[in-house]
């Protein structure tokens, strides 16, 4: 105020400018998340859902009554529930819970509000080692990390939806530990995996400073992962460093410090389609889809009213030994966007995939993959939880996921234990030298 009094001639002008700035800022802070990321159901549609829920919420859905909900489930899941013995269970069942809006974090709302109006694609295409990025496929500003948030909160094409999926950064920095149990459902044999993981997103950051990107990033890294293998026992102490780059022209880098051989091995990107250990997923299947968006073409098929896990309580997931698929999922009504995904790499392990994307969290509750003979092969059922970061931001995150091989009758129920979001991480944690030093 002293400033205004001393410079009397400018006081009115300053006041007007401040008022103008405030008026611009008010909509950002006051705008409800629902206005930025639209909910699945509103108005009369929501009323109908609530009416339906009066019948179904709290009910255990299993072999006896799953027929009534066939239209709300992917065909593969429905078939599995009809034949639970094949999956090592007397019954496969889930519980229906009420629909709840998944409000994104404040950072995600702000970033979406700020960057999505400017979202556009690069007009020029280019060639890559695995194929071509066509004009209007690469999100403008993505390579330099100048964008964040959901670029297309009201998408119209499959490609726009896929970019929304890619925008999820799960608290920007997060840690979790996979407890997996690959199960041979024919024999009941299980092997266990325990693999703590730490992720750092270098671009697209929305919740933890610096946002939207880490400045010192000359290699244009999109995401890094540091993973330690504790189980199976013979892999104890093995560490994996993975670097995914924003630039589609650059293949990912993977370094493995193998405890048994005490040396760092570089892995080639050509094995991205290889199966991970004894699981029923390829390397590119991690966190729903762990690769660059431009590697595929996308065709939006339809929006379907379905049941999916979005507020899963991890403690409710159960299974007997030898059972390759969880029981106790908490599924709620929501709208899923079905997208047909075809890899541009003709030799890729999946010639076709079907992604089910949730229109609020832009995550993937279900995925179906076909083999080269055109048969349904792998299926993902992801149990999304609604958690909180250290800063108190909501984080929609798959607290468990279940890949199955419907041909081999093999399942891999995985829990993410002790997930933490938004912790401080140093970038030098994700270096080859750190990998070398942390080995023995």
């Amino acid at each position: 105020m002293n400033l205004l009094i001393r410079r009397d001639g400018y006081s009115v002008l300053c006041f007007i400018l401040i008022a103008l700035l405030l008026s611009l800022a008010v909509p950002v802070f006051s705008q409800a998340p629902e206005e930025v990321i639209p909910p699945c159901f509103t108005g009369s549609e929501l009323d109908k859902v609530r009416e339906w829920e009066k019948t179904w919420v709290g009910k255990k859905v299993g072999l006896a009554n799953v027929d009534q909900l066939k239209d709300f489930l992917p065909d593969t899941l429905f078939q599995m529930m009809k034949e639970p013995k094949k999956w090592g269970a007397d019954e496969l069942w889930f519980e229906t819970v009420p629909y709840q809006y998944c409000a994104p974090s404040k950072g995600m709302v702000e970033a979406t509000k700020k960057y999505s109006p400017l979202s556009k694609f690069e007009p020029n295409g280019f060639k890559t080692p695995w194929g071509e990025v066509a004009p209007n496929e690469l999100l403008a500003g993505y390579l330099d990390g100048k964008v964040a948030g959901y670029p297309f909160p009201r998408p119209k094409t499959g490609l726009e939806m896929a970019w929304n999926l890619d925008a999820n950064t799960y608290g920007d920095n997060h840690q979790r530990a996979i407890f997996g149990s690959p199960v041979n459902c024919r024999t009941g044999a299980e092997r266990h995996a325990w693999q703590p993981q730490t992720y750092l997103y270098w671009t697209g950051r929305v919740d933890v400073p610096p946002t939207p990107r880490i400045e010192n990033n000359p290699k244009k890294i999109r995401r890094t992962l540091l993973m330690t293998l504790i189980e199976p026992p013979e892999t104890y102490g093995t560490k994996v460093l993975e670097l995914i780059y924003a630039d589609p022209r650059k293949e990912e880098d993977m370094y493995v410090w193998t405890a048994m051989f005490r040396r760092i091995r570089r892995m080639t990107a050509s094995q991205r389609g290889d199966t991970v250990d004894s699981a029923d997923q390829a390397y590119s299947d991690s966190i729903n889809y762990a690769d660059q968006i431009n590697r595929n073409t996308y065709k939006f098929l339809e929006v379907r009213d379905m049941l999916a896990c979005r507020h899963q309580d991890g403690k409710k997931l159960t299974r007997a030994t030898g059972q390759g698929f969880f029981n106790g999922q908490q599924r709620e009504r929501c709208k899923l966007y079905l997208i047909e995904v075809v890899s541009k790499d003709k030799k890729y392990v999946y010639p076709k995939e079907l992604w089910y994307l949730d229109g609020e969290t832009w995550q993937m509750p279900y995925k179906q993959c076909w083999d080269r003979q055109g048969r349904v092969w792998r299926f993902l059922d992801s149990q999304l939880g609604y958690l909180m970061s250290i800063q108190g931001n909501p984080v929609a995150f798959p607290i468990a996921y279940n890949y199955v091989d419907v041909q081999a009758l093999h399942g891999c129920p995985n829990n993410f234990k002790d997930p933490k979001f938004g912790m401080e991480l140093k970038t030098d944690m994700f270096t080859v030298q750190n990998l070398q030093r942390s080995g023995y």
Partner: protein
């Protein structure tokens, strides 16, 4: 160990399938129990007298690994790590002929970790991590190379070849730990340079070679076989190699080296230097020749007195090397790994290849007397030469996603690794006789191929490894590993050696076709 486990049991354990944790996870114990059998498919008739069965090796091993975090603060930690490995080789007791074939001392040294300086402690070191510094003090195994089956730059730890060959077990399981000080410093220089130094003040270990009469050693001939008179010559020499090995407490054995690691334009590289005392000796020409004569004067026996204080010498060699790793994703779609090494001042024995008269001076030892005379045996040592040598190893890893195979192996890759190794002895003498190369050969070449894949959701793993030397010898290893759950591991394998030219037959390979079985319990 039992007392230790009891004490820790009072503090409450946290058990997983992989390790047992104590003290809130600051102390982790893990390990395995293993029995490893080798059954030979062929034992030559001339060696049958020393075998009651075809079982060549029956080794039972217990391995305990400890990871103890003594102190953990923000950027400062102190850890203690150890690997204790105790084994008992049983067939040299159960097979009475093999038992009788080995002198009692040699047998005991072979059966358990008591071979002179052998001890059950494979590794035991304290690690201090502070900021960019990492200091490790204690007994350690160091891996500096990039290739498998053969070593070019990985020269810090000597090997124990008494129980298995590279290919059947990884190098790291047959390396002998050394007491050393090892430091790392992570710089902020371009390329994220990592500086590593090694100083080994006194520790020296010789390469452990299999005793004659054991599975991997040269076969002992029947007593009435024509050449049986020489059957104890090699055991005698082995005893003397041990006897002449440098003391482990002498500062004269100091060894040191450094390594620089960096990343430039997507290539991981290292430059390294190591000043080492050789782990294999060369013979002092006069004394070694006298020793051989003493053997024949005495008559066949492994216990021949030494003719001199020192018959064998362990020389010093300097190694200058480099390695690289480079993923090539456009054409090869694989990873190229390479290593090269220049050996400065490597010592070799020259032999009396042409059968010229060599004077063997007079000696007297333990009642044996030789008056001195000329001899013409081609095995006589004529001198020691010092030559530089250069070698390289190049490996190409190419995982293949082969659609036909993927129909049957859960869509898994086929890992293919091709390697080539070459080395040259510079200023080469035609009188040199070096293992795996012909007489007078300046250069030796070896190629290897490894193929592996998994089946039934990683429950079954199949591997094939093949190594061939241009001298005409080589071997194939094929094994199947079955992993039904978290703990049990079953391996069935076959090892087949071959030789295309009789003059290059290595004594340790011509009769070494075998099957092997391993049962392991991991915890």
């Amino acid at each position: 160990m039992l007392l230790t486990l009891f004490i820790f049991s009072l503090s409450g354990e946290k058990k997983s399938n992989a390790a047992i944790g104590y003290l809130d996870g600051r102390l982790l114990l893990k390990g395995n129990f293993e029995t490893f059998w080798i059954v030979r498919t062929y034992i030559p008739g001339k060696e049958r007298e020393w075998h009651n069965s075809n079982v060549g090796l029956l080794q039972n091993t217990a391995r305990f690994e400890t990871f103890y975090t003594m102190l953990q603060k923000e950027d400062f930690s102190i850890n203690l790590q150890s690997i204790i490995r105790y084994y008992y080789e049983a067939i040299t007791d159960l097979d009475r002929e093999m038992h009788n074939a080995l002198p009692a001392g040699n047998r005991r040294q072979f059966q358990t970790p008591c071979f002179r300086y052998d001890d059950p402690v494979n590794e035991f070191f304290l690690e201090i991590v502070k900021g960019p510094w990492n200091i490790r003090v204690g007994k350690q195994i160091v891996t500096w190379g990039e290739t498998e089956l053969k070593r070019t730059t990985d020269v810090v730890n000597p090997m124990d070849l008494r129980y298995a060959m590279p290919g059947i077990v990884p190098f790291e399981d047959i390396k002998i730990g050394l007491w050393m000080l090892r430091t790392f410093y992570q710089s902020n220089l371009p390329g994220s340079l990592l500086f590593e130094t090694i100083f080994i003040p006194t520790d020296h270990q010789m390469t452990r070679l299999p005793p004659s009469g054991t599975n991997w050693g040269s076969g002992l001939l029947n007593k009435d076989a024509p050449s049986s008179v020489a059957t104890w010559l090699f055991p005698m020499m082995q005893d003397q190699w041990k006897d002449d090995a440098p003391s482990r407490r002498s500062i004269n054995n100091y060894q040191w080296g450094f390594k620089l690691r960096g990343l430039t334009k997507d290539v991981d590289w290292t430059i390294q230097y190591f000043d080492a005392v050789d782990s294999s000796p060369v013979g002092k020409p006069t004394a070694a020749n006298q020793q051989v004569f003493a053997y024949f004067l005495h008559g066949p026996s492994p216990h021949i007195p030494k003719v001199a204080d020192r018959v064998w010498e362990y020389k010093r060699t300097k190694y200058v090397g480099a390695t690289l790793q480079w993923p090539e994703n456009i054409y090869l779609k694989g990873v190229i790994r390479g290593e090269l090494c220049y050996q400065i001042g490597k010592h070799y024995n020259t032999l009396n290849i042409k059968g010229k008269p060599v004077y063997v001076p007079a000696f007297t030892a333990d009642g044996l007397t030789w008056a001195g005379d000329f001899a013409t045996q081609t095995s006589l040592i004529t001198g020691i030469v010092e030559s530089d040598a250069f070698g390289y190893g190049l490996a190409i890893d190419r995982p293949v996603l082969w659609p036909w195979l993927m129909q049957y192996n859960d869509h898994r890759k086929l890992d293919i690794t091709f390697q080539v190794f070459q080395d040259w002895i510079l200023d080469h003498s035609r009188d040199l006789k070096v293992s795996n190369r012909g007489i007078g050969d300046r250069c030796s070449t070896a190629v290897s191929l490894s193929v592996s894949t998994m089946w039934f959701n990683q429950a079954v793993n199949t591997n094939w490894k093949s190594l061939y030397y241009d001298s005409g010898t080589g071997y194939n290893v094929f094994d199947v590993l079955y992993m039904p759950g978290d703990h049990w591991r079953f391996t069935v394998g076959a090892f087949f050696a071959y030789s295309f030219t009789s003059w290059t037959q290595e004594p340790a390979s011509y009769d070494k076709d075998m099957f092997y079985f391993r049962i392991k319990y991991e915890w």
